[in-house]
């Protein structure tokens, strides 16, 4: 069965108000082509769920399409702060649900296991618990030790960019694997964009990371992660990221966004 559709059709799978999980991390293998289409269609009121937020996440935030973010790091690595996240989260224009690696990882694992929480270590003694009143503690019934009951986390829709996929959505991830397998398995709708689409799983050349059975739609998008990287096909576009930082520095986010939307 072929699930191949266009980018424009795929963006319709995201509805206003959705919890949107983006694959990859920070500046690596991000679904940038898909986000460009979302920006064109102006799907808003989103909750952005990511391991780490980066370039395209900052564009969504700057364009006013994001109501809240759930991530444990939102920035541009060595290139510095993510300008629009920093500005809007600082001025109260963006709700931040303070996540850590564990709240995201255990939260997705709870959903994978079909339970409401997953116990684990972390957070105790920090101020994170004070700003996350939804997180409860539990006592281990065996050791009586106090643990964190990380609440289950489920995206409405997940979008992952991969190097190679078949027409049914079986896919290989050749770089950072991030939380992609976990958001792909837990999301109600799942969009895969791929550098290359092959006819059958036999043509994938190795073991898959993502299971086609959980994939709603597959879109061919060569170069679809640029200017973020897609290891080993293309490296991070450092100059492009720097251009973005400097555009925001001179208060030209709107101009940058217009140029970004005009490019493919």
């Amino acid at each position: 069965m072929s699930k191949i559709i266009t980018l424009r059709e795929a963006a319709l799978l995201v509805r206003p108000g959705d919890i949107l999980a983006l694959g990859g991390m920070t500046l690596y293998r991000r679904p940038v082509a898909f986000v460009r289409e979302l920006l064109r269609q102006r799907v808003g009121e989103l909750t952005l769920l990511e391991l780490t937020g980066g370039f395209e996440s900052d564009l969504l935030v700057g364009a006013g399409l994001v109501r809240r973010v759930r991530t444990c790091y939102f920035g541009l690595e060595t290139f510095g702060l993510a300008p629009m996240f920093t500005r809007l989260a600082g001025s109260g224009g963006l709700e931040v649900i303070e996540e850590t690696e564990a709240t995201i990882a255990f939260g997705l694992r709870a959903t994978l296991a079909g339970v409401g929480f997953m116990p684990g270590q972390g957070l105790l003694g920090t101020d994170i618990l004070a700003v996350r009143p939804d997180i409860e503690l539990v006592t281990c019934p065996y050791t009586k030790r106090q643990l964190v009951a990380f609440p289950a986390l489920r995206p409405d829709v997940a979008v992952v960019h991969c190097q190679i996929a078949d027409r049914n959505g079986n896919a290989r991830l050749l770089g950072n694997k991030a939380i992609d397998r976990d958001i792909a398995l837990t999301a109600n709708r799942m969009v895969l964009t791929a550098e290359r689409i092959v006819d059958s799983p036999a043509d994938l050349g190795g073991e898959i990371d993502l299971l086609g059975a959980r994939v709603t739609a597959v879109v061919e998008a060569p170069g679809g992660a640029k200017p973020t990287s897609c290891f080993p096909l293309y490296p991070l576009g450092s100059l492009e990221i720097l251009d973005y930082v400097l555009a925001c520095q001179r208060e030209d986010f709107a101009g940058y966004l217009e140029r970004f939307l005009g490019s493919d």
Binding site: E101, I104, L124, K177, F231, S238
Partner: protein, 290 residues
Amino acid sequence: MTADYTVSDLMASCIAHQVDDGDVVVQGIATPLVMAAYLLAKRTHARNIIFASAIGNAICSDWAPLSLSGIEDIWVGKALRQLTFPEIVCEYLPTLKPKEFLRPAQIDPFGNTNNVAIGDYHRPRLRLPGCGGIADVTTYYDELYFYVPRHGRATFVKRLDFKSGLGVSPGGPGAAAKGRYLVSDLGTFDFSGGRLRLVTCHPGVTPESIQAKTGFPLAIAPDLKETPAPTTEELRLLRQELDPLDIRSIECLSGPARWARLREIANLELSSGTSLRGGLKPWTWIIYRR
């Protein structure tokens, strides 16, 4: 500092000396200085260390030179095994309790840290990127290591605006965490007696000038010494083999100087074609076959 090495060379040397052979060391997000130091340890006294990297989500024993645009090469291209991030967070970190150098935006005398927000949490003067996994691992790591590339009163504070990392916290919940070591661009420190204590001053730096840039009274070791300079061999390795583009120094820069340096490095990598240093792996023909 008059010697012919930079403060980032010195800090890389200091960090490398904290790495023991056989350690599992963690590479975080945006920490090229630490990466240079780990490579230096690997190429000198600690050949058997294993890297666990947030960038690349991988475990590696081999190494490659630092790169800005091709940063994944070293981690993904040379992975012993690639992991999913939940595998790292839920399984490997709690089990291995690796050695990791954390860079706090704020740190108090006890080694508690803040990487979330400066000022009031709900209306911050500066919203920071977030703490990553620091609020998790500091509750169960046995020892904590820190580095601060730009020592100042904004970083070394009496009281944190937000506690997103657990340092020495006597009697508190999850109190196993303990500060062990901190290196800044001015000196090195331990947490002897449970409080940050100056142990060595970098060459040309006085304890008075460090105190002036620290927002709380510093304890000072009775046998205060000068930080040993990097050796000729360490400098040769850093400059010629491990990090010839001097990416490690970016962390010591800010603002326009940092952007200019980033542009310079990115252009150098583009013109030399080294941004995908490892080249294409054998299996990539599958993707290019059309």
